[in-house]
């Protein structure tokens, strides 16, 4: 279980994150919503163990989070891969780093679940579509079977139809593999549909943290209500009569 306890991150005199606490159990999904500049990237960096907290700690099953080797699916699939190297090499990098052999069966199964033809992996990143690249990014994230996977706006670079399929795939894979998923997104519709809990991040603090359904029905804060109403207005959420 992921446990974020009272972390704060200060950088050059500016407090980027403060008083952040949350928990996430295996197999569960937490969506973090908020506007740009609220500190979402820093939060991701801190939970991944790449950014050092000025206060508090981030643990997985009581151990420092880095030890469970959390994975990250990035927003922009194009820059997430070394352009000079085959996708297969990039995808297997987490295994190479840990000196683990590649389980071809496992990889083939993941490719099937993600609708990735295996010959695609021999190509360079520039030779696949964005949708394919993003799914290959998910493949890389899952190849070492990490217990915790973070998703940074995983759908925002994709077109609407691809978004739906990819979101579905992520959820199915989570059910099968059992990882904990923390999804940062500005798409409340996505959050409502797939997350167990929703956390609202604003100016470095968590404004609200409740179950997804509770948030959609009745947000506790004014800001939360603003977000929800805006999502309804834009059609991201559909009102249930």
């Amino acid at each position: 279980m992921l446990s974020v306890e009272n972390i704060a991150v200060r950088y050059r005199g500016v407090t980027v994150l403060q008083d952040i606490s949350l928990t996430l159990a295996a197999g569960r999904t937490l969506a973090v919503v908020g506007e740009s500049g609220a500190g979402k990237s820093t939060l991701i960096g801190t939970i991944l163990g790449l950014v050092r907290c000025s206060a508090g700690q981030v643990t997985w099953n009581k151990a420092p989070v880095r030890r469970c080797r959390p994975a990250l699916v990035m927003q922009e699939p194009r820059s997430a891969f070394n352009p000079r190297v085959s996708l297969r090499r990039s995808v297997t990098e987490p295994l190479i780093a840990e000196r683990r052999p590649v389980d071809e069966n496992q990889m083939a199964a993941l490719c099937r679940s993600l609708d990735i033809p295996t010959d695609l992996l021999e190509r360079r990143p520039s030779a696949v579509s964005i949708g394919q690249a993003q799914r290959i990014g998910i493949l890389r994230a899952l190849i070492a079977a990490p217990p915790l996977v973070l998703f940074d706006e995983p759908l925002s670079a994709l077109d609407a139809v691809t978004q739906k399929h990819t979101a579905r795939m992520i959820a199915d894979l989570q059910a099968k593999e059992g990882f904990a998923a923390l999804i940062v997104t500005h798409d409340l519709g996505y959050a409502a549909a797939y997350a167990d809990h929703i956390a609202v991040l604003r100016a470095g603090r968590i404004e609200e943290l409740t179950t997804a359904q509770a948030f959609i029905d009745a947000p506790q804060t004014a800001y939360g209500r603003e977000l929800r109403d805006a999502a309804f207005a834009l059609g991201a959420l559909e009102r249930v009569a």
């Binding site: 991944l48 790449l50 080797r69 959390p70 994975a71 990250l72 990035m74 922009e76 820059s79 997430a80 891969f81 070394n82 352009p83 000079r84 190297v85 990039s90 990098e93 987490p94 190479i96 780093a97 840990e98 890389r140 070492a144």
Partner: protein, 264 residues
């Protein structure tokens, strides 16, 4: 890039085949025929000790060109290592490497090389040491600059996240992006090394006689400037042509890189 590689191969051929192509022994002294003008047998004439100038030029390529090549590569290795250390190692490593680079850059390299070789005693070892120690800084700056800009690239973050060792990250993710710019720097440094070795030879601090080297050949020729001025032309011309070729290749490479502006 192709022109640079072509150039390197031409130089390499010259250095390796020089001794084979040379018609005469470069150290064979023949006082009877000293300071003779060009003839069919001795295409460029002979020097003050009767040695064939053409042969000396060809043999000299091993020192003026070959040694310069070696020294510039050593500087490349050292500088790239330092630059990557600065980019990957955190604030303290960055500051230390950068201040060290500044310190070494604070001084004109030829003067520093003269002091180093002069103090340590002339010889190939001190020559290599002096030129490497004064020639690594530019690479370090370039490697650091590009390295820092790559730190925030998606795939670099992923590599660090996966726990890939810094060495592997450098090899897989930094070096391929560094290579083009480093090669441009290298062409400039190769040219400087050629000029440096021959300048040190000319000042008497470089390769020692009787080993033929273009700079020392000029030093010898200078004494007989009035009687056989032609002797002064050949070694200098050799240096100029090599340096010019390298500079042109380097310029061409820089222009191609500027056009490409690799999209990443």
């Amino acid at each position: 890039m192709r022109s640079v590689l072509a150039l390197v191969s031409v130089f390499g051929a010259l250095v390796l085949l020089g001794p084979i192509l040379a018609p005469h022994d470069p150290t064979a002294i023949d006082i009877a025929n000293r300071l003779s003008p060009p003839s069919p047998e001795r295409l460029l004439g002979t020097d003050a000790l009767g040695r064939d100038i053409l042969s000396r030029l060809l043999y000299g390529a091993r020192w003026s060109l070959g040694l310069a090549f070696l020294v510039s590569l050593m500087g490349l290795a050292l500088g790239t290592l330092a630059g990557l250390l600065a980019a990957q190692g955190g604030k303290l490593a960055d500051w230390t490497v950068m201040r060290t680079t500044d310190t070494f850059l604070a001084f004109p390299d030829l003067v520093a090389a003269v002091v180093i070789v002069g103090v340590l005693g002339a010889g190939t070892g001190s020559l290599i040491f002096a030129l490497t120690v004064t020639g690594w800084m530019r690479y370090a700056r370039v490697a650091r600059g590009i390295g820092l800009s790559l730190q925030t690239r998606g795939y670099v973050v992923q590599a660090r996240l996966a726990g890939l060792s810094p060495l592997s990250v450098a090899r897989w993710h930094y070096l391929p992006s560094l290579l083009p710019s480093l090669t441009v720097v290298w062409t400039g440094m190769f040219a400087r090394a050629i000029l440096g070795i021959s300048a040190l030879g000319f000042l008497g601090f470089g390769v020692q006689p009787p080993t033929p080297e273009w700079g020392t050949m000029l030093l010898d020729a200078r004494i007989h400037m009035r009687s056989t001025p032609l002797q002064m032309i050949w070694p200098g011309l050799a240096v100029v042509m090599c340096v010019l070729a390298i500079n042109l290749a380097g310029d061409a490479l820089r222009d191609t890189l500027a056009e490409q502006d690799l999209p990443e």
